[in-house]
């Protein structure tokens, strides 16, 4: 059974494997090897039997092919209403066929399935909200990714991502030392401007255990400092864990269930160790989805709830504003038209639509909703890991048109995007389509408009 050196059915659990993958720039060799990867039909049949049970079988069978899902899908709209982008078509042509053929498929078919599962669906699950039968095609594609992963048909970046989680318990190669050092560095760096600023590591019984997206320590460490400033201003008793600080899950995007479990258990272990009252997740959509919404199931927790009450950053901000822990200086509210990007992962799939509006009520004078919005909002165009996959860059860029037009229609030049994926997608759409917008997380906006207590005011240099 031919297996590539890089592209194979093995999981990436050792640093040498990961380094070899990383050395293959753009996945050139990886994708070449994929062309020769054999399908293990027996294993595939067994996987299908385990994964595709009455729920998915029913969905695939009773679909009346009415086409109501067509317009719910931003890919259908962005690709000039191409019928091959109708969710029902996409899933019947992949999972539907796979099931009909009982796993008796070839390499080319598996690659087609991979291309569909990653470049024609961001698993935003909007179609499920528009189907009279409640057929959630986005969800089926998420499981489809898992089936593909088990056979080694996964985009190069996804394979790397799962390896990162397996080895570092983070989506990037950030070690415990790197993380703790970054926390110390950021506290020092900002201490001049914010006297007494601290990022407390491994404090037990804190009110809040704060957890992040590995991109923050790796590429945007100032985000960490901003979180610290806001917690400090709000007077929170908070901490970060030295291990189990990473919330994201490229493993979820890739469909590597075992790695998903390892990742969330690292966070749950930190909860056990530090016994915080609550956990707050940074401004990331899929991180919250992975660790708070899906995580308990991977970890086998029957209640479906994380071990400690866990909230998204927007919930903490709304609460801090509501209770007066954070006070907005009315003269500093955002005056220009501003809109809000509803992240699929914590708005449609997390129920936080009202919370986001509450925040905008405090900070914006001219808040403009996108149409549609809240749980009906369109995916930013970069969800489901798509932002990070080179192979599908072109398809991603076409999909971004829908978000571009939604933003343009609001007339706002500023987009609040408290989600890393959305933030990236909107940054990229500006780079490609140049519509003259700015985009921001909540933290920097809040810091620019809160009342700062006297003792914590930046010291005057002159």
């Amino acid at each position: 059974m031919p297996e590539g050196k890089l592209c194979n059915k093995q999981t990436v659990d050792a640093k040498e494997q990961l380094d070899a993958l990383l050395a293959d720039k753009g996945g050139k060799q990886y994708y070449e090897e994929m062309n020769h990867l054999d399908v293990d039909k027996k294993a595939l049949r067994a996987t299908l039997k385990n994964v595709v049970r009455s729920r998915f079988k029913t969905w695939l069978e009773i679909c009346s092919h009415c086409g109501l899902c067509a317009e719910s899908c931003f890919y259908f709209l962005a690709n000039d209403r191409d019928p091959k982008q109708v969710p029902s078509y996409k899933i019947q042509a992949t999972l539907g066929k796979l099931l009909k053929r009982k796993g008796d498929v070839d390499n080319a078919f598996m690659q087609e399935c991979m291309d569909s599962a990653f470049s024609k669906c961001t698993c935003c699950t909007r179609c499920g909200v528009y189907c009279p039968f409640g057929i959630d095609t986005g969800l089926m594609f998420a499981y489809m990714r898992g089936i593909l992963f088990s056979q080694g048909f996964s985009p190069w970046e996804m394979k790397i991502g799962t390896g990162m989680h397996r080895i570092y318990r983070a989506q990037m190669d950030v070690t415990t030392e790197d993380w703790v050092e970054t926390c110390e560095w950021m506290a020092e760096e900002y201490e001049d401007d914010w006297p007494g600023l601290k990022i407390p590591v491994d404090v037990q019984n804190a009110d809040i255990m704060y957890t992040v997206n590995a991109r923050e320590p790796k590429h945007y460490p100032e985000d960490l400092a901003e979180a610290a400033i806001l917690f400090r201003v709000a007077g929170e008793n908070w901490t970060v864990p030295s291990e189990g600080w990473e919330e994201t899950s490229l493993a979820m995007f890739a469909g590597d269930g075992a790695a998903c479990k390892m990742q969330v258990e690292s966070v749950y272990d930190a909860m056990d160790r530090l016994k915080p009252k609550r956990m707050v997740v940074t401004e990331c959509g899929h991180a919250y989805r992975a660790t708070v919404i899906e995580g308990p199931y991977w970890a086998g927790i029957k209640s479906g709830q994380p071990p400690v009450e866990s909230i998204h950053y927007v919930e903490w901000v709304a609460e801090a504003l509501r209770t007066g822990k954070l006070k907005i200086d009315p003269s500093k509210k955002i005056k220009e038209p501003v809109t809000y990007q509803d992240s699929c992962n914590y708005i449609r799939n997390g129920g936080l639509g009202d919370v986001a509006r509450e925040i905008m009520g405090y900070i914006a004078e001219d808040f403009r909703e996108m149409d549609p919005c809240r749980e009906h909002n369109f995916c930013c165009g970069g969800g489901g890991g798509l932002n990070g996959i080179g192979r599908y860059r072109e398809q991603r860029n076409v999909g971004l048109k829908i978000k571009r037009d939604q933003i343009l229609a609001t007339g706002a030049k500023l987009v609040v995007a408290p989600c890393h994926n959305c933030w990236d997608a909107i940054r990229d759409l500006e780079e490609i389509y140049k519509i003259g917008i700015r985009w921001s997380f909540l933290k920097p906006l809040l810091i620019s408009m809160i009342d700062v207590p006297e003792h914590f005011k930046p010291t005057e240099e002159e």
């Binding site: 049970r53 009455s54 009346s64 067509a70 317009e71 019928p83 091959k84 959630d136």
Partner: protein
């Protein structure tokens, strides 16, 4: 032939219809798995029940969901079709007389003219649904032979029924054909897409529980379908 179609075959088709649907429902529920589906079905019961009921209720209300409202013409056709499909056979005078004769009970009945109107409505709705399938490229591509077959099976008892009622040509021929078509439809329901007769409720309840228990139902007001 008449005796067979109204006797043993009626028993068999109703038997298959009811037992088949119960089987599909039990099969569906038994196939659910909290950890695989990632929905804590048996926990947070009040949220689960609320989510399931909301999910069914809004979708059974004409124009009750955003999807229904976005597609007003289609929604109109779907609702009048289903009302006609269910109400006509159950409340038809002739059927209830037969029910009384054979099985000793009957339902409340509708007038003959109402039944005629409903029949024409069903036939018209199906004609329009077929035209829609052909006219819209995004629907045409996903349509297969089964979709037409389902529509045909659903409309056949209505066409043969009204022909028999107005005694167009040979009454006995249309009557027997009408009953055969109805029985074929009953038998087909559990085995085809028409199993949405019960699986609509099962699937809607499942997704409703998913949203109600896991995907935000315990945080927000519940998904605005």
């Amino acid at each position: 032939m008449y005796e067979f179609v109204t006797g043993p075959l009626a028993w068999i088709s109703f038997g298959i219809f009811f037992i088949g649907l119960i089987y599909r429902l039990v099969w569906y529920i038994r196939g659910l798995n909290w950890q695989l589906d990632r929905v804590a079905y048996t926990q947070h019961v009040s949220y689960g029940v609320k989510g399931a009921l909301r999910s069914i209720f809004y979708w059974m209300m004409p124009y009750g969901t955003r999807s229904w409202r976005d597609n007003p013409g289609f929604t109109f056709l779907v609702f009048i079709l289903h009302i006609g499909l269910l109400a006509t056979p159950i409340f038809l005078k002739g059927h209830n007389i037969l029910l009384m004769e054979r099985w000793g009970f009957s339902f409340w009945t509708i007038s003959e003219s109402t039944a005629d109107v409903l029949t024409v409505v069903v036939i018209a709705a199906i004609v329009f649904l077929i035209l829609r399938r052909i006219a819209k490229p995004e629907v045409r591509l996903i349509t297969d032979i089964h979709d037409y077959l389902m529509l045909l099976m659903a409309v056949a008892p209505f066409i043969t029924g009204i022909l028999a009622h107005y005694q167009v040509g040979n009454y006995r021929f249309w009557l027997i054909l009408h009953m055969l078509c109805g029985e074929i439809l009953l038998i087909a329901i559990p085995f085809t897409k028409l199993s949405h007769f019960v699986l609509f409720f099962a699937s809607r309840a499942q997704l409703g529980m998913d949203y109600g228990i896991k995907r935000g139902g315990m945080k927000g007001k519940g998904l605005a379908w």
